[in-house]
């Protein structure tokens, strides 16, 4: 994967298309041109991709969020203090 091409294509991806995945984990194609799938549950997303025939190296896992943050810690959605464990 050439990261500069991946990012250039992701940066060109229409915002009004991406907003459909707001609050979801998504898998980007390696060229950054397509969202292969999205799901609020990252493990279910990975399972969906595997079932569709994708290998782990075929995509980049990401998260769609249009909020602003101070610092890099950004939590998925309206985090209420509960953990996944």
């Amino acid at each position: 994967m050439i990261w500069s091409e991946h990012v250039a294509n992701r940066n060109r991806f229409p915002a009004d298309e991406l907003v459909k995945y707001e609050g979801q984990h998504v898998a980007w194609s390696l060229d950054g041109k397509r969202v292969l799938a999205g799901d609020r549950d990252p493990l279910r997303l990975a399972a969906t991709l595997t079932a569709a025939g994708y290998q782990a190296d075929d995509y980049v896992l990401s998260f769609v969020d249009s909020n602003s943050y101070l610092g890099g810690v950004a939590l998925d959605g309206d985090f209420d203090g509960r953990t996944d464990e």
């Binding site: 994967m1 050439i2 990261w3 500069s4 091409e5 991946h6 990012v7 250039a8 992701r10 940066n11 915002a15 991406l18 907003v19 990252p42 493990l43 990975a46 782990a56 190296d57 995509y59 980049v60 896992l61 990401s62 998260f63 969020d65 249009s66 909020n67 602003s68 101070l70 610092g71 890099g72 810690v73 950004a74 939590l75 998925d76 959605g77 985090f79 203090g81 953990t83 996944d84 464990e85």
Partner: protein, 152 residues
């Protein structure tokens, strides 16, 4: 290794951006390798993060054995209560498509729903001299003298 910034978009015009909506961020792809494979995911280069932290679900995808993890409480900025992080050695890999670096590091996994991995000082930035080029919206990572991995 040079990475252009990823540009996220705010839903509404941002006062700090003069009404703009583009949020350029030093987000890069990082490959995290474990016993049964690897995953590529977004990682946010964060000079304010003491450690390199991944969401716990990633450890499941690469079959890390958390029973041997070193547990430690960490604090997330803006959150009052500490959260338990589970630290394990992994292999990390960065590539811009022309140059690649990989190295072993001890990174943490937390069960809070992080939206992106945090590539912080310990485990990541400690091994690089980082040049955040705001005008060009890119970051250049140069392995430094503490880098013990491999660069191609």
């Amino acid at each position: 290794v040079k990475f252009p910034y990823l540009i996220d978009h705010a839903k509404v015009p941002q006062p700090a951006l003069g009404g703009g909506v583009e949020r350029p961020r030093p987000v890069i792809a990082v490959r995290l390798a474990g016993p049964t494979g690897s995953r590529i995911l977004d990682g946010h280069l964060d000079t304010a993060a003491d450690d390199t932290i991944f969401p716990l679900w990633v450890s499941t995808l690469i079959s890390l054995d958390l029973s041997v993890a070193a547990d430690q409480d960490i604090h997330l900025a803006g959150r009052g209560q500490p959260y338990r992080a589970r630290f394990l050695p992994v292999e990390l890999h960065l590539s811009d498509g022309r140059e690649s670096c990989w190295w072993r590091a001890i990174v943490g996994f937390v069960s809070v729903p992080l939206r992106r991995a945090l590539l912080g000082q310990a485990g990541c930035l400690q091994f690089f001299d980082s040049d955040f080029r705001g005008a060009d919206r890119e970051v250049i990572l140069t392995p430094n003298c503490s880098f013990t991995g491999q660069k191609i």
